[in-house]
Symmetry: none
Subunit: 150 residues, 2 copies
DNA sequence: AGGACGAAAGTCAAAGAAAGACTAATTTGA
DNA sequence: TCAAATTAGTCTTTCTTTGACTTTCGTCCT
């Protein structure tokens, strides 16, 4: 965790208390951490992506700001949706799959322990074969199917 | 013992104190010993492999690093033993893996929900690919490593 | 109302930082 | 001698950081 992006990510996350939406100023954050404003944008887009279960809205100009909101999903609607999306792909990178898995855990659809197992099973070391991304998609899909049926 | 790989191995091992996991920088180490970075990779993969009782994780890019962790366990620990046995195989059928998984659940090492996920991930539908048994062994191994580390 | 100005945030490309993969060469030990 | 282990080198991939430029919005001035 020696890079500043991770630190900023945690800092931003610490602002969600019970609320599932926060508002922040890109410039202020940049100043606070002594980095360039686009660094904040970078953290926002890489760490608070839709895959990870967040949406970002913003307003420019004087008094502008960035709003980060958690997308909350329930088991009943989110899992089938995720399955549909996954099925439509023909490959799935580890990062993407891990993001989705973390989000399932965040929303309480699976436990942290279960998330860890999923990530072990679809990690790059486990799938050290050609066409790993295609295979990963398949495995992840089967896991989702299993989750829906429970 | 006059070879530098052994020296580096010892040096790295000297960093584990009570802790069973350390973090290091490949470049720094390479520089420190005046060797090429890939030499460090070589030591890491040959001396800190799973069958020697270690796991390695890493992250690239700015602020990246390598984490080396001991697989801890005593003789009456079931998981490390199972890992060792699995690692020695070069293939693993679904039936065999499933019965090991069931046993883990029966013994309370993993929950039923976790067992179900494991079985989804290594099922024949998930691994519909040539050499499925070799791959399954690999995946199962990674799952075990993850379980031990938690 | 309309334009000028400043304050945000957005975009994108380039540079930098780290580890991984692959290959070739060399050394060592049986 | 010869296969396995070691060492080095180089290129690739991934992730991060920075900076320059653009777009949008609000306010103030006439």
């Amino acid at each position: 965790m020696a890079n500043i992006s991770d630190t900023i990510e945690q800092f931003i996350k610490s602002f969600f208390g019970d609320s599932d939406s926060i508002q922040l100023s890109r410039n202020d954050l940049a100043h606070y951490f002594g980095v360039s404003p686009s660094q904040i944008s970078y953290v926002l887009t890489t760490r608070f992506s839709v895959d990870r279960g967040y949406v970002i809205e913003s307003k420019r100009g004087g008094g502008g700001s960035v709003t980060v909101a958690k997308i909350v999903g329930t088991k009943d609607d989110f899992l089938p949706e995720l399955l549909k999306q996954t099925d439509a792909l023909d490959a799935l990178t580890f990062n993407k799959a891990a993001s989705m898995t973390d989000r399932l855990a965040r929303d309480g659809i699976i436990t942290d322990g279960e998330a860890a197992i999923v990530k072990s099973a679809i990690g790059d070391r486990a799938l050290a074969v050609p066409m790993a991304d295609a295979l990963r998609k398949n495995i992840f899909k089967e896991i989702l199917v299993g989750l829906i049926r429970r």
